[in-house]
Amino acid sequence: MNGPTRRLATSLFLGFLVLLGSVTWIQVIGVDRYRDDPRNARTSISESGKERGIIVAVDGTVLARSEPDPEDAQSFLRVYPAGPAFAPIVGYTSRLAGSAGLERGFAEELRSRRDLTPSDLLAALFGRDLRPRSLQVTILPELQQAAYDALGGARGAVVAIDPATGDLLAYVTSPSFDPQTLTGDDAVAVREELLADPDEPTRDRAGNELVRPGSTFKTIVTAAAFETGTYTPETTFADTAAFQLPGSEASIANADGNPCGNGREVTVQTAFVRSCNTVFAALAIEIGAPQIGRIAERFGFGESIELPWSTTASLFPTEELEQDPAALGQSGIGERDVRATPLQMAMVAATIANGGETMTPRVVSQIFDADGETVESFEPRSLGNPISQPVADTMSELMERVVTEGTGRRAAVPGVRVAGKTGTAEGVEGAPDVWFIGFAPVENPRIAIAVMVEDGGDAGGSATGGGVAAPIAATVIDRWLSIRP
């Protein structure tokens, strides 16, 4: 009778081993995932009331700081003096509503270590500094506020990047919310209200919203064509009013319904400057989905970036489009199956501006201690070279023409050479999502920008990228000129 009893005991102990394995997974291996889950209020609860480091911009503007609580001498209040425009970057830390943004991503650095946890005591024993550390961010506060104001409450986003370093100069989502409202005792109710708002003010439209990029995607298709070596700006295509999609009843027309140029043939350059759909549908089908997909991926499509908050990966479904030339034609003009975030399109503009090299977007430039000494600094890092220098230079020329003589004329700013590309993505229903991506000054680019306005903003159904998004870009670039660091 002992045999079966032994086997019962053995199976039970195997069961206990499984329990031990699962506990190990949760408490040892998966700790970061569960402890930092935004729905886990424990971290923000234990941090609330304690002093935290400041978050400060290069120009000295304080975006987050801790102040002594007037009602409780032992306790601190977290203050966000910069307001709604900075919510997607700074985020918040709240006893009741969890945490987000840099407050969450750098929670370990920002927190005071003087709270008697065993590991902190051990660190103190070895002479570690337990005071909270502070963050310096790359955001230019005036530019951030100007971009937020320029969107005028419309649903949309603006992302501005320093092409040479990858520094985020502005990261705007609109509409936004005041993070201070989430720190009070009514935070739960406030959060419910924000979540119920149809304009979704807590949504990160800059890095976490996938939108059809419209004609701004032609920058990638054109660069992909030049990269093959067989196409130049002077390559010509038949100039028709409509392009018949292969294997389909549908055709693609230009925005105004007319041919692009003289009605006989048209160069890639003219088609790009005037944003002619017929030519780019044909070009996309000619060079094929694999080539476009390869270049798009090198630009960062298909990969999400941690800023440290997560962003959504932009999409170009190469394999599906390879099977379906009609869909490829439509995707070649940024419609149908292509999706991109404003952050991704800003990176495309920045890469062209930077001679073909993509820099990793960076928000925090350094961490410093309570004495103001730098503890850690984050150097610019290259993400690779999706396109060659000559192709980038050619793209830059074409994009400058878009602003001087093409669809992007309203992005022009007196006193500086601006390059760019407009986009008007006709959704399946509703008003178009409109875009402008670009950079300035052309001879030595210091700012790359992407502007996206959902559903055409105030202009509604008649909105175009050139009419709605380009002027916003001009406002931001103009502002950048006046504060140019």
């Binding site: 079966p4 005991a9 206990f16 408490q27 569960y34």
Partner: protein, 431 residues
């Protein structure tokens, strides 16, 4: 291990409980107070008395059984106090009552000997069935004992003695009675069940007549699930039944048949009953179903994850954010405040208790006592596995108690009796 070492370890567990309560007090600005003294005295008196009872009524019993029980009990005391001091004061009374029940059991068994239980085989069976049915009594009316529905399950009774009302979960005691019945029944007719086999293809299965009790208990445990909506008790009952049957006969057919029937029952109840479906959803996708069914499990995982290696410290975590932290989720509360170290200590303690139980069963020659020990040890182990497994997402959550740790009197009482019986079997074998 000697009795003196056992006494020292029990004293240590009482000290640990008092120290934990002190630390919880310190977090709230208090310190050494009456709660600390009461915790220490309750632990010391309860386990000290059981220790003395074992010395006089079962002196040859193994000394490794009681100390791990005292250790998990100390962890439970600290966390219940940390979550709800009022419940802790009730739990102290239950601990004393449980110890008293263990002492009465030991004293009674030392008078009659364990084999006397065999004569009460059918009494145990009927009593067990009766206890299981008790919660189905009407919830209203003038009866002193009434059914009680809690959290969607019908497994409690309310004992109204006029001056005091007590909630009691009779299933915890029924578990022991069923093991006793099964051990006695199978020890008597072991041969009949191992006898003839019928061959179907490569499978040798027992005669249908021998499978009948299996199907009967399967139906009964499904009944518990359907009528009382109690997934945990149902599973536990069936698992213990199959295990004892297997231990008695050594015939793998019972395991296969049991597993098949359990699977059929599980899948059917998952498809048919909303409350089971909710549990399965919460088990598989606690985080995507966070706002609804998954909330409790997700909070438990957050608690454990935040506790990490060394834990937040007693009183410094937030186990109060977990629904039912002091009953179903006491393991998560310990894991949050005592960390991975505490979780492992608890798991190892239970493993030691169960291993000691099985060790007793293996050394025992008398078939009744052997089956009894194996059944009790297995029942305790499966119960621990089901509820901790539910918290750490190894199995769907079944609302049963964690022996000696969860808040609740019936569980403490039942499991103290169980440990007393194991101690007695151990003594009779050695003596």
């Amino acid at each position: 291990m000697t009795r003196a070492a056992e006494a020292a370890l029990l004293f240590g567990a009482a000290l640990l409980a008092a120290l934990g309560v002190t630390m919880v007090n310190l977090v709230g600005g208090g310190g050494l107070d009456a709660q600390v003294a009461l915790t220490f005295m309750t632990m010391a008196i309860a386990f000290g008395a059981v220790h003395v009872a074992i010395r006089s009524f079962a002196p040859e019993a193994t000394a490794t059984l009681l100390p791990p029980v005292a250790l998990v009990s100390a962890f439970g005391m600290i966390e219940i106090y940390r979550l709800d001091p009022y419940r802790a004061s009730l739990q102290r009374w239950w601990l004393l009552l449980g110890a008293a029940a263990a002492i009465v059991t030991l004293a009674w068994l030392s008078r009659t000997g364990l084999n006397a239980l065999r004569r009460y085989r059918n009494v145990m069976f009927l009593l067990g069935v009766g206890l299981l049915l008790l919660p189905m009594l009407p919830t209203t009316g003038g009866l002193p004992v009434r059914g009680l529905e809690a959290n969607g399950s019908r497994l409690w009774i309310l004992v109204d003695l006029g001056f005091v009302q007590l909630n009691f979960q009779p299933g915890e005691v029924a578990k022991i009675l069923f093991v006793g019945f099964l051990a006695a029944y199978l020890a008597d007719r072991n041969l009949a069940l191992t006898g003839a086999r019928r061959k179907i293809g490569p499978l040798a299965i027992p005669e249908p007549r021998q499978l009948a009790p299996l199907v009967l208990v399967w139906a009964a445990s499904l009944g518990v699930l359907v009528v009382q909506r109690d997934l945990g008790a149902s599973l536990l009952l069936f698992a213990v039944f199959v295990a004892v049957l297997y231990a008695a006969t050594g015939s793998g057919g019972y395991l296969t048949g049991g597993a098949l029937l359990a699977t059929v029952g599980a899948v059917a109840s998952w498809r048919l009953f909303d409350h089971v479906d909710r549990r399965v959803t919460a088990w598989l996708r606690p985080f995507s179903d966070y706002e609804d069914a998954g909330y409790q499990i997700a909070q438990g995982i957050f608690a454990l994850g935040t506790g990490s290696l060394s834990g937040a410290g007693p009183g410094l975590g937030r186990p109060d954010l977990i629904p039912f932290a002091s009953t179903d989720f006491i393991f998560a509360a310990v894991g949050e405040e005592f960390g991975f170290a505490g979780s492992v200590a608890v798991l190892c303690s239970y493993a030691l208790i169960v291993a000691t139980g099985f060790g007793i069963a293996l050394r025992t020659r008398d078939p009744f006592r052997k089956l009894l020990a194996a059944g009790l040890a297995f029942g305790l182990g499966v119960q621990v596995f089901l509820i901790i497994g539910g918290v750490v997402r190894v199995v769907p959550l079944t609302g049963i108690t964690l022996p000696f740790m969860s808040y609740g009197g019936s569980s403490l009482l039942g499991n103290f009796v169980l440990v007393a019986m194991l101690a007695r079997i151990s003594h009779e074998e050695a003596a």
